[in-house]
């Protein structure tokens, strides 16, 4: 019904704009997705470089490769980047590109809001990383514990960059949260009931609930920290008026624990898409998968204090949070069993995406088991803040999220760019990553148990940690090699002329029914869905294994949202506001930087105002009546 032919030639109007303007003003969810992915991959490489320097510094005891101060900046930025600038936005790339395709929609519910999320994210990421150029990158840990992060103990602008940067990124996440929640609930194709949705769409829906309910808490925590650092209050410092650093920890982890699931649930979703396709067998226990995911998300709000077992909350609170944390292992176990159930009895097609998806399961099991060990509060008293924890969460976030996101990249690359990635290089990438990953992080379990605390820039000889750390460093270099292979693979595919087919893997979901890469309007005719795994159903009905290659259509008259400058300008206003606060903090240089903030607010307000009165349609299709 959305194919009503109104006006011709919007494609011509698009072509008139320069490439730069086109990308800066785009509201196409696929372009937004690609921009998310490209910028996040750059931040991922920066974060990876930080990790490599960290590993080189820890290669041997008493090493002096980097200064203590720089090391602290490195690990803070590594954590912050990987969480907020890599894993979340790479997931967001998949949300953006594939959620509308999976649910059979032309776009997200709010295309311009979507573009705004993107620009806020990119500007926020640049803002935080800009601190390196001033030699003042954040140095207080990604968790920014007060009072170390208060002005009294952190006089430079380092933590100002962190706190304001995170605030900017939070705005992007919240806007995207509203957008995708609404999109998934309200933009599904006819017949696509919630319980027929692809599992990835479910994972995004649940993830957005977590974003929407956890990010406001870190927003408040950062506002209070800003009040402390910039305006002289003492919410988290103890010296003047009895503020309580524990409040920071609680607020941070009320956000921080759901954040962990924000990082892993989309990974669950991607793997749940890939396994059925390469097993040629539907996902085992679809409803159990949905309910366990919802249950994980729900419990995720009741376990935050397990990050604070060493603070001495008392046995009652410790027991409560211990048991609640253990409960999470049940739905997580159900998910793992269902994945194994999916491949069980299947006909496994060993393509690169399947390799990474299986690697994900294997690694995530290990991360899950060490997670149960942390839930045991007394054991956690020994493990917390050691390399055992570092091992645990890298098994979950690297072995889990990154393996899954890489699987997703290989799986969806042909759809996104119309080029196939090379299978041989892909498998080489997999083996380098699997070996490098385990060589890096498995020894960390042991170095942690043998007494190596986290966040130390060096350690003495004689603790028996030398060999383990050397192994980790060698592993990290192998990991890096794996990603170099990936980059080479991408460049090769980029240069190749071979066009990917619409459905290279025998897919089950709607995105494989349209050309690779999809045309701007996604679906020339809005699909109608009668059951789960809709494309498989269509193939069954047609009695074929592969549907004929869909034709690329002219798309004449298909109505699309207009490009807009206002999302980018809104984001710029937000950035200006934060820059004003940043500079107001420690120095003013006689310039009233408060005015920069005021200008930022005015720019944002003006942009939102203009945006809400801007015609939604493409200008050329908007004729006066």
């Amino acid at each position: 019904m959305a194919t009503t032919i109104l006006e011709p030639a919007h494609a011509a109007a698009y072509a008139k704009r320069s490439v730069l303007v086109e990308w800066l003003t785009t509201v196409d969810h696929k372009k937004v997705g690609i921009l998310y992915g490209a910028s996040a991959f750059v931040f991922f490489l920066i974060g990876g470089l930080e990790a490599e320097i960290i590993r080189l510094q820890l290669m041997k005891p008493d090493n002096h490769l980097v200064s203590p101060e720089f090391y602290n900046q490195l690990f803070t930025m590594h954590g912050t980047s990987m969480i907020f600038l890599a894993v979340m936005p790479i997931s967001a790339m998949f949300f953006n590109f594939f959620v509308p395709l999976l649910i059979g929609a032309r776009d997200v519910a709010f295309p311009r809001l979507n573009a705004m999320s993107l620009w806020v994210f990119i500007l926020g990421g640049l803002f935080i990383n800009f601190s390196f150029l001033l030699g003042a990158a954040p140095n207080g840990g990604w968790f920014g514990y007060a009072p170390l992060s208060s002005r009294q103990f952190s006089t430079g602008v380092n933590m100002d960059f962190w706190m304001l940067g995170l605030q900017i990124l939070g705005i992007a996440s919240l806007a995207a949260g509203v957008n995708f929640f609404t999109t998934i609930l309200n933009m599904r194709a006819p017949g696509m009931t919630l319980m027929r949705m692809p599992m990835f769409a479910w994972s995004v829906l649940v993830t957005q609930v977590l974003v929407l309910l956890s990010f406001p808490v870190i927003t408040v925590a950062l506002i209070l920290l800003t009040a402390d650092r910039t305006f002289g209050s003492s919410f988290f410092s103890y010296t003047t008026a009895g503020g309580d650093p524990m409040l920071w920890q609680h607020l941070f982890w009320v956000f921080g624990h759901p954040e962990v699931y924000i990082l892993i649930l989309p990974a669950f979703g991607i793997v749940s898409e890939i396994l059925p396709v390469f097993s040629r067998k539907p996902l085992f226990g679809y409803s159990a998968m949905v309910f366990s995911m919802a249950f994980i998300a729900f419990l995720g709000f009741g376990v935050w204090s397990h990050h604070m077992f060493a603070t001495g909350m008392g046995p009652l609170a410790d027991s409560f949070f211990s048991l609640a944390t253990m409960l999470i292992a049940i739905p997580t176990g159900v998910k793992i069993f269902n994945w194994i159930g999916t491949i069980w009895g299947g006909s496994l097609q060993f393509k690169t995406p399947l390799y990474f998806a299986l690697g994900f399961i294997a690694m995530f099991i290990i991360g899950g088991l060490s997670g149960v060990m942390h839930a045991v509060q007394p054991a956690d008293l020994q493990q917390t803040d050691t390399y055992f924890v570092v091992a645990h969460f890298h098994y979950v976030l690297f072995g889990g999220s990154i393996f899954s996101l890489t699987a997703g990249a290989y799986y969806w690359w042909p759809k996104m760019f119309g080029k196939m990635l090379d299978e041989g290089l892909g498998k080489l990438h997999f083996w380098l990553m699997l070996i490098g990953f385990n060589l890096t992080f498995f020894p960390m379990h042991l170095s942690g148990l043998l007494g190596m605390p986290r966040r130390i820039y060096t350690y003495p000889a004689g603790l028996g940690l030398d060999g383990l750390n050397m192994a980790s460093t060698i592993g990290a270099l192998i990991l890096a090699a794996g990603f170099l292979v990936f980059i080479y693979n991408v460049i090769r595919a980029w240069r190749s002329d071979a066009q990917a087919p619409a459905d290279p893997w025998g897919g089950a979901t709607l995105e494989w029914s349209i050309p690779s890469p999809p045309q701007e309007w996604n679906f020339a005719v809005e699909p109608v869905v009668a059951e789960k795994d809709v494309l498989w159903a269509m193939k069954r009905a047609a009695g074929v294994r592969t549907l004929p290659e869909p034709a690329r259509v002219s798309g004449k008259g298909i109505h699309l949202p207009s490009p807009s400058w206002w999302p980018l300008l809104t984001a710029s206003g937000i950035l200006a506001f934060m820059v004003g606060i940043l500079v107001k903090g420690p120095v003013t240089h006689g310039f009233p930087f408060g005015l920069v903030s005021v200008a930022g607010v005015l720019l944002t307000a003006l942009s939102i105002f203009k945006w809400s009165y801007e015609p939604v349609d493409h200008p050329t299709t908007h004729t006066p009546h």
């Binding site: 211990s322 803040d385 028996g464």
Partner: protein
């Protein structure tokens, strides 16, 4: 993977003085016992689940032109079974967990040797540890002396940011806050010297905020206490060396410092002109502003570590460098290079001045 782990550990040999796997106190043994239970269970689960995964991957590998496999959408019975199994496994873990939480939370009222627990105040500083024995009136730094078989009741606070006190072989970590007291306890079961560390990121030099736990036989501990109570006052000929110390008298009332004769001081100082010069420099260079030289006269709001008995300590610079003349010289001459951002600022200092200070500090036994 587990075999791989064992090989790795075996390959690297030992010893592992900071290991959590060799508990030598009651607290850490309780923790280790529940931890090992989870390790055994986890190993079984690991082998079964990874085994099933690998088996499935091996068994069900297909060719592109294979017929479509049987399309199964799920099974309620199977779902229920594999929901219940993890629940049961977790219940097995949960029971000892809660028991151990309560057992470790409670500070025992009496020690194994029948005495009340030994109270120690732990104060975390950027970046060293201060230890006070309120019942004995002693203050020391970076070296916690305790008697074997006697429960130690630690009451912990921070001077600045959050730290975390950790002696892996004896107890789990406990965070140390600036505005609230936290507690931890343990009873050491063997004597020896054991490293400990700060486990909560606390700024630039977090990595080098180590300390040593010295577990001694009761008699040795008592000797150490007596020595600390006596010798550090000797040099001060009754009158405090500096006004700040006077403002902060010895902690325990009724346990006045051992009276000393002026003669001792004169003797100590007169032996060596280098020591005399060192003593003069210790004031002239401003050292006394932050460091007390007496275990019995801690500074109020201590900034630098208490140096009472510094000559007998194993390590300097926050439990990092062995206490040798060479290291001490390096420390005095290049403090900010050895440990950047540390609060100690001493200004340019010549080799001879350093030698004099070292000679003086070496008399602090």
């Amino acid at each position: 993977m587990c075999a791989f782990a064992v090989l790795l550990v075996a390959g690297c040999g030992g010893p592992y003085p900071q290991s959590t796997l060799e508990p030598r106190g009651d607290f850490s043994q309780m923790v280790d016992s529940v931890f090992m239970k989870t390790v055994y269970l986890a190993t079984i689960v690991f082998i079964l689940v990874e085994g099933a995964l690998l088996w499935a991957v091996f068994k069900f590998r297909g060719k592109p032109d294979d017929p479509q496999p049987h399309q199964i959408h799920g099974s309620t019975v199977v779902e229920i079974v594999w929901t219940i199994i993890p629940a049961v496994v977790l219940a097995i873990v949960a029971v000892p967990t809660v028991q151990t939480i309560f057992a470790t939370a409670k500070v025992p009222m009496t020690s194994a040797d029948g005495q009340p627990p030994l109270k120690v105040e732990v104060i975390g500083h950027q970046w060293y540890w201060e230890f006070r024995y309120p019942e004995l009136g002693i203050t020391t730094a970076n070296e916690l002396h305790v008697p074997v078989d006697r429960t130690v009741d630690l009451r912990m606070k921070s001077f600045d940011v959050i730290h975390s006190f950790w002696v892996p072989q004896f107890a789990g970590k406990r965070d140390v806050f600036p505005n609230r007291e936290t507690r931890l306890w343990f009873t050491a079961k063997v004597t020896g010297e054991f490293p400990g560390a700060c486990a909560e990121f606390c700024g630039t030099e977090h990595a080098r905020m180590d300390f040593y736990l010295m577990v001694q036989k009761s008699a040795d501990f008592q000797a150490w206490v007596d020595h600390r109570r006596a010798d550090s006052t000797m040099r001060f000929d009754g009158a405090p060396m500096h006004p700040v110390a006077a403002a902060a008298p010895a902690v325990a009332p009724g346990k006045a410092a051992v009276p000393v004769s002026a003669k001792d001081t004169v003797v100590t100082v007169a032996v060596d002109p280098l020591v005399a010069k060192g003593k003069q420099l210790f004031t002239a260079k401003g050292c006394i502003g932050c460091h007390s030289l007496s275990s019995m006269n801690p500074l109020k709001g201590q900034i630098g570590p208490n140096l009472g008995g510094i000559a007998t300590r194993k390590m300097i610079a926050g439990g990092w460098l062995p206490n040798t003349d060479a290291n001490l010289k390096d420390w005095l001459e290049h403090t900010q290079k050895v440990k950047p951002d540390v609060k100690m600022v001493i200004g340019p200092i010549s080799d001879s001045e350093a030698a004099a200070l070292i000679a003086y500090l070496r008399t602090m036994r």
